[in-house]
Amino acid sequence: MKLHNIAMNNLRRRKGKVVLLVMGLVVGVAAVVALVATITALEQDVAHKMDEFGANILITPKSESLAMTYGGLNLGGLAFDLKEISQKDLDKIRNIPNAANIRTVSPKIFGVLESGQIKSLVAGVDFDAETSLKKWWKVDGALPEYEDEILAGAEAARRFALKKGSPTRIKGETFHVSGVLESTGSQDDDLLFIAIPVAQKLFNKQGMVGMVEIAALCHNCPIADIVAQISAAIPSAKVTAVQQVVQGRIDTLQNFRRFSLAVAGLVLLVGCMVVFVTMMASVNERTREIGIFSAIGFRKSHIMRIILLEAALVSLVAGIIGYATGMGGARLLVSFLTDHTSHWSMDPYLAAGSIVLAVLLGLLASFYPALAASRMEPSEALRTF
């Protein structure tokens, strides 16, 4: 016979009260787990969707520039000492420490097409990388598959009177339009796109790239670190984070987290109150019994230990049930809120966290009732003496 036998027997005998106490805690823990799991899933979903919005890192050739003004007139700028980016350097991007965060590397090279009085910019791109980066592209026709095929931006097609299947000549070479981009409202509307190796050959820039757009998966990714790592890997290039996009993503994710913390705090408070009230009622009901314990020689610490042990056992069970219920709830909630299809598995940190949280909450809320019980005068508790 030890103190824990008393606690266990009491719980076994008072099943109704135990169920009530467990339910109170389960609601609190399940709500927190559901919230945390849902927010995590939503964060991933939002991050994933936002990562699809386009590039968040830009690599351009490093150059020295000089602003030219004379007599108050702005004569524009002059770029000199231009350091080209070698296509071989792109492999270094895949070897940086945060390479796992790099989703897409899209190199580009630019040249000019002149047709009579009309000029247009020609972009040599890797179509697979480009379409991965620009999910919003809609093509009337198909993307170029062959070296002699070209994709025309909406405005460029209008200016050169191009449509699907039309031939056009660039630097003496004949190309056929495989498709026309629907208007995007961006600079892409004015461009003609061809495969990057063709463009390099056409503009005599074999092995070189004009710029590189990179999409890094930004869910908790250290974008500043990635920028620094790429800069170190390719010293000849200027690497810039597209601050607005990055900051926007971070802000959105932080708002989600703040919301989840506020709601979780509120739910925890309610859970705490439920445990406190139930434990206090339980102690009041057991006044006589506590009086007996005290009269026959239990110390204050022994009585507290019995009550806190009961609270810990109940909280442990509530933590386990709460975690399972919360995960089930989160799964249901996320399926309603998003088209998130990520794999759900047991998160050991969340599981351990929710159980520890439940036990801590149970102990915290039971501490005062346990203290009150231990302070009871035995003669008053028994009332018969």
């Binding site: 006589r288 007996i292 009269a295 026959i296 020689g297 003496f385």
Partner: protein, 237 residues
Amino acid sequence: MSYIIADGVRKEFGEGDAKVVAVKRIDMTIEQGQFIAIMGESGAGKSTLLSLLGGLLSPTLGKILIGGVDIYSLNRDKLADFRREYIGFIFQSFQLVPYLSVVENVQLPLAVTHHKESAKLALAVGALERVGLKDKAFRLPNQISGGEQERVAIARAIVNEPPMLFADEPTGNLDSRNSAEVMNLLKRLNSEGQTIVMVTHSNHNALYADCIVHIADGEIGDWQAQKSAEPWKTAVM
């Protein structure tokens, strides 16, 4: 040999106009191995006196010495240890813990000691054997009769073999047959050397004691030493 000494003990409850003097002034001495019956009208202060003597209620004035120890000079935990080691309580209405079996109830005072589990069980079974309830060790309190519950309470009081037993109306809820059984049991324990202080309303039960202390208005009215009338022989007959 003086074992329990009440020296100028007074107990007041409440303050100001609401103040009630439960015990005005008690000076008494109980010898080791004595069986004392405390009698008096309801509200005379006998249960309060028992609480004071048993270390359950601190006096407003005066002191209680047990075996030379001023028990109320001990801190709360030390006093709890003292009660566990030296005093067995038998409460009115049995006061068993309903969700513990008979043998677990008997083991309660041992729950916070360092005995081995097997030793605790052996002591509890031994105590139950002494009160004739070994065969009902694993029943719950509500599965045995009132008389048996009182005997379980006695077994719990004697399980760690304290030198003193304090009993408050131990037969208050029992019929005459069960009362006689319980009183005989107490008498037997006393004859084995246990000091017993018992509060009772019953003149018949008081005959089991060596000495009857009459309390009136919080004071000792009469101290009546008696030769044993041996009522247990009548009860057995």
